[in-house]
């Protein structure tokens, strides 16, 4: 079927009513006012950006738009009609669909099933699956976004980027439910994608605009400006304004987000030459495992070494192996001159290694546990007197770090799962800082999902830690971040270290240089 034809029909539709309009939306959570009278307009066939700090209420607003959050007050209008959205189905029937911040596919089903899940249509007759039809339906969706994923592949065998494509193919199914052009909501779809995949995604988003409206959320302001027509900014649960992207620069947006002028250089004083402590902190000799081979790497005290590479390059596994979370098959690792015991995470912790995993929700935090307990989980000594836990000591330590990292939480006793993504990440980072014995930090996408301000704080923190002698291995969120933060960049591909690019201040490589090395 032809997308263009359909789009052509819709474009000629007369009324210039807004695809979606939100008026004075309010949502309270215990101790937080997540939405405090938000107004928002989404026009037909536009890509609207939504920006705001962590916890500004973006996800909450979007969830209200797909019927997952029941607002306490306010109105939602869809194509000039006031609606009450009670469920995802309700929203889909009104043509609103969302790709969630955390991926939401069923791993053990096929891509095809995931794509049609909940709206199988002709794929299921009287409760009986018709695999051929289902595959065809899914293929149609995949064709729409130009993806060549096999619809019968089991979803968990797909790469992260492919899974994201499946999600987009899936959300487009709402066209089948409503005769109107759909509103597609993408909540931070790029935070886990590589730059090439992001490009593909943007091509799709631009294509979507021809027949749908898109709401796009990202903390990467340059991206937002790149792909959106208009940006609406939220702060503290309120709309603070909107700007057309033409001619806007990230700084403008940032200023609106935080309410004051932000600094341009958020890689904070990355002026320091590689530290003047020439001591080798970490040295890896011919380390091998299932997914990488003969990796050699040195990191000096006070140095930040970025590792870049595509999915499958094995860089995550090197980090996990260093932390004892993945078995190795050969090689040796020395930390500060002493041979490192790679047999388990416990030994790594004791040796002064800290690890921030990429999959925060599953591996980084214990959702129902409090902020305080999450923060002191790894370094129990920070809250203990002798072998005993001292609640006052814990309170002191935790409150100090909550303040220092400006973690937005009602209370240190609040369950961490109630915090916004960015604030959760700060807690996870703080976990390694509460005790003073950290020597090597392994950061796997440490700023994933963080807003520009929080990110800047994390960068500053990393820099300060480095200056005090901590060695850091960084798997950055983007090439820009890797370049901005690292003193040296190591390129990995296919489980091997392929090259090393010095990255001292003043002589930074460009992203293009790195991409050349990577392929």
């Amino acid at each position: 079927m032809s997308v263009d034809q359909e789009a052509a029909v819709e474009v000629t539709a007369p009324a210039p009513v807004h695809a979606l309009e939100v008026r004075g939306l309010v949502k309270h959570y215990p101790g937080v006012k997540a939405l405090d009278g938000v107004d928002l307009v989404v026009r037909q066939n536009e890509v609207l950006g939504l920006a705001g700090e962590n916890g500004a209420g973006k996800s909450t607003l979007l969830k209200a738009l797909v019927g997952l959050v029941r607002p306490d007050a306010g109105e939602i209008w869809v194509r000039g009609e006031k609606v009450r959205l009670k469920s995802v189905v309700d929203a889909a029937n009104h043509g609103i669909g969302m790709v969630f911040q955390e991926q939401s596919l069923v791993p053990n089903l096929t891509a095809a099933e995931n794509i049609v899940l909940g709206s199988e249509g002709r794929g299921v007759r009287r409760g009986i699956y018709r695999w051929d039809t289902m595959r065809k339906l899914a293929q149609e969706q995949l064709d729409k976004i130009g993806s060549d994923i096999n619809p019968l592949a089991r979803t968990e065998t797909l790469s992260f980027a492919d899974r994201q494509m499946v999600e987009i193919a899936k959300v487009l199914r709402i066209e089948q439910r409503s005769q109107h052009p759909p509103v597609i909501i993408l909540d931070e779809p790029t935070s886990v994608l590589e730059s090439k995949e992001i490009e593909t995604l943007f091509t799709q988003v631009r294509r979507l605009r021809e027949f749908a409206s898109v709401v796009f959320v990202s903390h990467r302001l340059d991206e937002v400006l790149d792909v959106c027509d208009r940006v609406s900014v939220l702060r503290g649960g309120q709309s603070v304004g909107e700007v057309p992207t033409a001619g806007a620069v990230p700084a403008t947006l940032h200023q609106m987000m935080i309410g004051s002028a932000g600094s341009d250089d958020h890689y904070h004083g990355n002026v320091a030459e590689p530290s003047d402590q020439p001591r080798e902190m970490l040295s890896i000799r011919k380390l091998s495992a299932k997914t990488f081979r003969d990796v050699d790497l040195e990191v000096r005290a006070g140095e930040i070494v970025g590792i870049v590479g595509v999915h499958g390059s094995g860089r995550e596994d090197v980090c996990r192996a260093l932390f004892g979370a993945e078995p190795t098959s050969g090689g040796e690792v020395y930390l500060d001159g002493k041979k490192l015991d790679l047999s388990g995470t416990r030994a790594a912790c004791a040796a002064g290694i800290g690890y921030v995993p990429a999959e925060r929700k599953i591996e980084g935090m214990v959702g129902p546990m409090s902020v305080a307990d999450n923060m002191t989980l790894a370094k129990q000594e920070s809250r203990c007197v002798g072998p005993l836990v001292s609640p006052p000591k814990q309170a002191g330590v935790v409150d100090r770090w909550i303040e220092r990292l400006s973690i937005r939480t009602p209370h240190r006793g609040t369950a961490i799962q109630r915090l916004s993504g960015g604030n959760q990440q700060k807690v996870v980072l703080a976990r390694w800082l509460v005790a003073d014995d950290i020597r090597l930090l392994l950061l796997d996408h440490p700023t994933r999902g963080l807003d520009i301000g929080a990110r800047s704080e994390v960068y500053r923190l990393m820099r300060e830690l480095a200056n005090s002698g901590v060695a850091t291995v960084l798997l950055a969120d983007s090439l820009e971040e890797a370049i901005g933060m690292s003193d040296r960049i190591v390129v990995m591909s296919d489980g091997r270290v392929t090259s090393e690019v010095p990255c001292v201040a003043g002589a930074k490589p460009t992203p293009l240089d790195l991409v050349k090395e990577m392929v």
Partner: protein
């Protein structure tokens, strides 16, 4: 040099980071729910048969409940780390046999020896679970049949009389004339487990392991050791429960405690501990064990006919869990 000076972070002025917040009335009520369920059940039984609410009768209930309390309290730890221990009852049976066999030789030391032996067996199960990565359900199911077989073989498939009753006499006495010693011991077990958890990082370890094992491991929590520890304590408790049973039955038998498995697990769940791990406490299991005991002995004693007794038992345990489980702590009910 490894001490980073506390980095001074820029602090956005708009943030009031720390707000007051404690448990609300609703949350308090949820945590009291097991006790409320217990009281309601007791009230119902007393209405059905006013004689049930006498001091003698209540004393008998708590004395009866002691082994179940100990079994459930121990197994709660395993449940808290997300596993399950199906071997406790069979191990308790085996322990009664061991007690009866060792008593003539070991005398006063037998109690300790049995608890130590049971604990060791539990540690072995725990190690098998964490080293071989077999689900605890399977390890302990296997353990259950192995312990039963061993108990049958070493006891020659029959009960072994305990002639020297002095060794267990202390358990049959009363503290202050009213509180049965066995129950007092059970209380001490519950209290000490709970205090140890509270004042050490162990509580955090258990909770983290139960809610999210991979996150716990990546935070350097000694997940494996915590699990092995939980299995060890669980089995040691089974050993202690066995001693209590011997003190009551004057014999050890290879099947004596076998039927306590489902009541013990039911006690844990009725107390409101999440069977999926993470959320719960040994105190809850204490209350749960009392509820289950009341149901086991109370229903027939107040005259509910056998068939209806089973139907009521089934209905009440489900309703009890519906009341006691704190849904805000357990997101998905499987």
């Amino acid at each position: 040099m490894n001490a980073p000076t506390a980095p001074a972070m820029a602090k956005p002025a708009s943030d009031a980071a720390v707000v007051k917040g404690g448990p609300t009335i609703g949350q308090r009520l949820t945590s009291m729910m097991p006790l409320i369920a217990l009281a309601a059940l007791l009230a119902a039984l007393s209405i059905a048969d006013p004689d049930f609410l006498t001091q003698r009768s209540l004393t008998a209930v708590v004395r009866t409940s002691a082994p179940l309390v100990v079994l459930a309290a121990g197994a709660t730890l395993v449940v808290l780390c997300g596993g399950i221990d199906l071997s406790i009852a069979a191990l308790a049976s085996l322990s009664t046999v061991l007690f009866a066999m060792w008593l003539p030789d070991l005398g006063g030391m037998t109690t300790l020896a049995v608890i130590a032996a049971a604990g060791t067996i539990g540690a072995i199960q725990g190690i098998a679970h964490v080293m071989l990565r077999i689900p605890s359900f399977i390890v302990t199911l296997g353990g259950m049949s192995i312990f039963s077989a061993v108990a049958l073989v070493i006891s020659d498939a029959g009960p072994i009389r305990v002639v020297d009753r002095d060794a267990t006499k202390w358990l049959t006495q009363y503290v202050g004339g009213y509180v049965p010693m066995a129950f007092a011991v059970a209380l001490i077990v519950v209290a000490s487990i709970s205090i140890v958890l509270k004042v050490t990082p162990l509580q955090s370890y258990l909770t983290a392991t139960g809610y999210s094992e991979s996150a716990a491991r990546l935070a350097g929590t000694p997940v494996d050791r915590v699990k092995v520890g939980a299995f060890t304590v669980s089995s040691a408790c089974a050993g202690l429960a066995a001693v209590m049973l011997v003190s009551r039955n004057y014999s050890g038998s290879p099947t004596m405690a076998d039927n306590l498995l489902l009541p013990a697990v039911a006690a844990i769940v009725v107390g409101g501990t999440a069977i999926t791990g993470g959320h719960g406490s040994v105190w809850r299991s204490l209350v749960g064990a009392l509820v289950i005991t009341l149901l086991r002995v109370g229903l027939p004693i107040v005259g509910v006919p056998s068939a209806y007794e089973q139907i009521l038992y089934g209905a009440i345990i489900v309703v009890a869990v519906a009341l006691t489980l704190d849904r805000s702590k357990v997101l998905i009910i499987k």
